[in-house]
């Protein structure tokens, strides 16, 4: 089971790869759309890569609730494994 820090750093790597955002800018309080320039297509890429990386299913209807990086980290932490 990944720790919160491991999930955050894994997510930061994904956001860096698919959106070109610096890893250190991906912080728990950041909004994907407002702060990180992650549009809806990019969000799907982030979600699919996160599913692969953390072995978790993130249903489409759940994605709209993940407005900040922290939301995503919590969701993954509580649903992984």
């Amino acid at each position: 089971m990944a720790t919160q820090e491991e999930i955050l750093s894994g997510l930061a790597e994904i956001v860096n790869e698919v959106a070109g955002i610096d890893v250190e800018d991906v912080q728990l309080d950041k909004s994907f759309t407002e702060d990180l320039d992650v549009d809806s297509l990019t969000m799907v890429e982030v979600v699919v890569a996160a599913e692969d990386k953390f072995g978790v299913k993130i249903p489409d209807e759940e994605v709209k609730n993940l407005s900040t990086v922290g939301d995503a980290v919590s969701y993954i932490a509580s649903h992984a494994g």
Partner: protein, 412 residues
């Protein structure tokens, strides 16, 4: 309409200057394909771009663009800068784009099919559609410069690049735009298109000697060699170019179109279709055939196509076909399909601007039916003027489906 900017990424170089230099030096851009998938292919060579997009484009941008759009954007950025438009205020309501590719985002489509089979529907990229759609390169070029006058994608197989440039000419003539970024792109080096073209018996299988495989007008020619890349030009109304003091490379004087409506893949053996397009380009440009001193031929290195084109040229121009220095640059670049008309327009514009016709390489045994003036091995100097007026170069492009497009480019 004038050409004020040129851009290219080709098997000979990552920009226009390096490509033109290699072209004049008679270098071949054809290389063996060393990928694992190529081992079982009937054709194991191609003209890969000399400079990989990874060297000049950020990873995030690259993952969002099909390779064909990457090439188009790289060439468009060069052309835009070359035209002196970088950092200049342009009226985007009067700015258009016409860029096409012959077969669209085929590698994106096929790579995503592989992902579908391997991982199921969730494995398919949400970006697959905007990447594989044939208008994607044009759309990304439009986004880059904020073009609002219209972004278009004419498609006519291997005539696509010239068709797009002809479309751009008509956009400006009809008053829809002052500046149009136009040309062609292609990225189809993948086992499926290669197998398909090879099974049509359209490709050279001279895998032992890739650099000599593309040999237009040689008796031993056995088909085309696939290339990839893009050629883009900035076309501008004369008034707009003059008002901003732009450097003018050449005048795009006219375009001629025709259709064979003979066969889906074979050219009309009578040559009537091609001849009609040549006549129509001459008429549209308002030039005298005496002014035509150079042709960038379509000449893909196929047994029927190369000499059929020459026969049609004679049919259209009579004795005036004899004073045309004919260059088959696909002998060096390979055949870029939808990108061919783009890079070859760049070459024809350079030819009338620098007064040099590029060579045709790899002719060791000239086909006796290639009975016009083929520029062989070394570049040829061109005059600036003829008694009838400034020199003109033609650029021919023909595509599967029977599409014929001829551009007439006059010295400025």
């Amino acid at each position: 309409m004038v050409v004020t900017g040129l851009g290219a990424t080709t098997p000979l170089g990552g920009d226009v200057a390096s490509t033109w230099e290699a072209l004049l030096a008679g270098q071949s851009g054809i290389v063996p394909l060393t990928e694992e998938w190529a081992a079982d292919m009937p054709v194991r060579m191609a003209g890969r771009v000399q400079v990989e997009p990874a060297e000049v484009m950020k990873p995030v941008e690259r993952r969002r663009l099909d390779r064909s759009a990457q090439f188009a954007l790289i060439a468009a950025r060069e052309a835009w800068k070359d035209a002196g438009l970088d950092g200049v205020e342009v009226d985007v309501h009067r700015l258009g784009v016409a860029v096409g590719s012959g077969i669209g985002g085929v590698t994106t489509l096929l790579d995503n099919y592989d992902l579908l089979l391997a991982k199921g529907p969730r494995g398919v990229s949400p970006r697959a559609v905007p990447m594989l759609m044939p208008n994607s390169p044009a759309a990304y070029v439009g986004l880059e410069f904020g073009a609002l006058a219209g972004v278009h994608t004419p498609v006519s197989a291997c005539a696509t690049g010239c068709e797009a440039i002809g479309y751009a000419l008509n956009m400006i003539r009809s008053g829809r735009a002052d500046v149009v970024v136009c040309g062609g792109t292609e990225a189809a080096i993948h086992p499926l298109p290669i197998s398909a073209f090879a099974n049509m018996m359209a490709m050279s299988k001279n895998n032992e000697d890739p650099k000599r495989a593309s040999r237009p007008y040689d008796k031993g020619r056995d088909g085309f060699v696939l290339g990839e890349g893009s050629g883009i030009v900035v076309l501008e109304s004369e008034e707009h170019a003059a008002a901003r003091g732009a450097r003018v490379y050449a005048v795009l004087a006219g375009v001629g179109y025709s259709a064979d409506s003979h066969d889906i893949a074979q050219p009309d053996p009578t040559g009537e279709g091609i001849a009609a397009a040549v006549r129509s380009a001459v008429a549209d440009a308002g030039i005298s055939p005496e002014q035509i001193v150079h042709l960038n031929a379509h000449a893909t290195s196929t047994p029927l196509g190369d000499t059929g084109e020459l026969k049609a040229l004679r049919m259209a121009l009579g004795e005036d076909a004899e004073h045309i220095a004919i260059s088959a640059t696909k002998s060096m670049t390979g055949h870029l399909l939808g990108g061919a008309g783009g890079i070859e327009t760049v070459f024809a514009v350079k030819a009338v601007h620098e007064l040099l016709a590029p060579p045709t390489i790899n002719i060791t045994d000239l086909d006796e039916n290639a009975d016009l003036d083929i520029v062989r091995d070394e570049p040829r100097a061109l005059p600036a003027e003829t008694p009838a007026g400034p020199i003109v170069a033609l650029n021919n492009s023909f595509g599967f489906g029977g599409h014929n497009v001829v551009l007439a480019i006059r010295r400025a």
